[in-house]
């Protein structure tokens, strides 16, 4: 069976019709010195041989079970109900690329509309878009909104924002001449104050005060939030944040080596024309029939060109669909249960860990939801020891923050059952 669509005859006929002798004649503009003579590739394999080889490579991966994973840092193991895959694997959703005649795809638009509605409700803000790539780009896009809205050229990162989000933020800001500053005192040049709730270490921040300080300086407040935590914490709209962003992986997506995930962004009504990406609205036709339509397209790059707040044209729509199904399936009560169980388990774990000799909470006066920092003797040794016993242990955060030497962050979710906690403690005590 041929895997390449063009036969020798096809190629010969194409070369002839453009008047060259061989494929090499198409490459005459590339100097000989830059060409690779030949590639040292193995011979072709049969399907069976290929599968065997890949399976043996895959067997070398170290896979930690969800229940024995106590590591978060932005990506979390959570239970994903079968309903999620049942919907996302429907070919109508699974195979369709971004519809370029959007109004023809009412089902896709309705799914996006529902995602927007759920995110707006969860964050208690007026409007959410069709989603972004991930939490990191959502933070950066929000910063661009603030920069254009205020006409100011500095964004302030307050507290422990995910260090990889900060890297992406810097990458976006560099090109636009925007300064990224760390601090807690916004000034007259500050377009936005960005904070994470709970922060990268899992600790709760004083979101209300941070928001008020931003507003007092004429800056916007951007809250980067954990969507599950919003079931038990005050949502950004309630404490006055202008823009809420976050990573939606926890809403029905597996960690998948870090992606694709889904970012979300929502804002106050007054900022909607700065909101990047696709936005779906509801309209009614002359007969009063409901239709889902693209809304406020003139904000977008294909119309507003360089004046648009973003050049984002796409998103991870299937991931957003998974998040919609998850949120709908769980409902407000289910989400709350998930958040509460995770909260309780994490607090039990924190207490048990603090009883280990030499271990102590890194910030004993601070509150947390389901991720928390501990100061431990020999952090690297702890992580290695646990890995040997089949447990994916905490994150050593000193990798990013020098002042946090010896600090590791543990995470607990509903998948870390009581026995898993016992196993973790036994492994640490051994």
């Amino acid at each position: 069976m041929p895997y390449l669509v063009h036969s020798e005859e096809d190629r010969a006929s194409m070369l002839e019709s453009i008047g060259v002798q061989s494929m090499d004649d198409l490459l005459v503009d590339i100097p000989q010195s830059l060409r690779i003579g030949s590639l040292d590739l193995p011979d072709g394999l049969s399907e069976y041989e290929t599968m065997s080889q890949i399976a043996s490579l895959a067997a070398r991966n170290r896979v930690f079970p969800d229940r024995l994973t106590f590591r978060g840092g932005g990506v979390y193991r959570r239970f994903i109900p079968a309903a999620v895959a049942a919907v996302t694997s429907k070919p109508e959703f699974y195979t369709a690329y971004t519809p370029y005649q959007p109004e023809a795809s009412q089902g896709t638009l309705q799914a996006i509309f529902e995602f927007q509605t759920l995110i707006a409700e969860l964050t208690a803000l007026d409007v959410a878009n069709a989603s972004l790539y991930d939490g990191a780009t959502a933070v950066a896009e929000a910063a661009m909104m603030a920069h254009i809205h205020t006409g100011r050229n500095e964004v302030m990162v307050s507290g422990y924002l995910h260090p990889e989000y900060v890297e992406v933020l810097r990458a976006f800001c560099d090109g636009r001449g925007i300064k990224v500053r760390k601090g807690t005192e916004p000034g007259p040049k500050t377009a936005a104050v960005i904070f994470q709730q709970p922060d990268f270490l899992g600790l709760l921040v004083d979101a209300k005060t941070l928001t008020e300080n931003a507003h007092a300086a004429g800056a916007l407040a951007i809250a980067c939030v954990d969507p599950i935590s919003l079931a038990i914490l005050s949502p950004p709209g309630e404490y006055g944040a202008d823009i809420a962003v976050g990573e939606g992986q926890q809403l029905g997506l597996s960690p998948s080596y870090g992606g694709p995930h889904v970012g979300f962004i929502s804002c106050r009504r007054e900022l909607v024309r700065r909101l990047p990406g696709r936005l779906i609205g509801i309209a009614h036709d002359k007969q009063g029939r409901r239709g889902f339509v693209l809304a406020l397209s003139a904000r977008e790059q294909h119309i507003r060109r360089e004046k648009a707040s973003s050049n984002i044209c796409t998103n991870h729509s299937l991931c957003a669909l998974a998040a919609s199904v998850y949120m709908t399936y769980m409902g407000p009560k289910g989400l709350r249960q998930v958040a509460e169980v995770s909260f309780k388990r994490a607090h039990v774990l924190a207490e048990r860990l603090a009883a280990l000799p030499g271990w102590e909470p890194a910030f004993p006066d601070r509150q947390f939801v389901n991720e928390f920092p501990m100061r431990v003797p020999k952090a690297s040794a702890v992580v290695r020891k646990l890995a040997r016993k089949g447990i994916l242990g905490p994150i050593e955060v000193q990798r990013w923050f020098r002042e946090l030497k010896g600090v590791v962050t543990f995470t607990c979710t509903e998948v870390n059952d009581a026995r898993a906690l016992d196993e973790l403690l036994a492994a640490l005590e051994a």
Partner: protein
């Protein structure tokens, strides 16, 4: 109105002493189609000559607005927030956009009606 003057970028101005009223021309609104939104500056903002001060968004395009004179914004037409279509229905009246307090002299290249008509006829072809 005899004293209405125009720019090549399709804004109009009416000057009354130091006060300059600014809008977009009938030709501009007809080219844009139904106006659905205007993004306007706040009062007090100082605008340089030909500075982009806002955006007019129609069902088919988003276009920048340029200040025809240098001056300070003294008033913004609030009615346009709720009824942006006034720009279509009455571009020289209720569809005015801004009032500016003129800083310095009027720029010499403002067009009279006849000269502006030539501009629109040229761009219509």
């Amino acid at each position: 109105m005899a004293d209405r003057r125009y720019t090549k970028t399709h804004e109009w101005v009416v000057v009354d002493g130091k006060t300059v009223t600014v809008g977009i021309t009938d030709f501009a609104q007809s080219q844009l189609g139904d106006v659905v939104f205007l993004e306007l500056p706040s009062t007090g903002r100082k605008l340089a000559l030909r500075e982009s001060f806002g955006v007019v968004e129609s069902v088919k395009a988003a276009s920048d607005l340029y200040s025809p004179v240098a001056g300070r914004v003294t008033a913004v037409n609030d009615k346009l927030t709720v009824n942006p279509e006034l720009v279509n229905s009455d571009p020289y009246g209720d569809g005015w956009i801004l009032k500016l307090e003129l800083a310095g002299d009027l720029p010499p290249d403002l067009l009279d009606e006849a000269a502006y008509k030539q501009v629109t006829e040229a761009s219509a072809h």
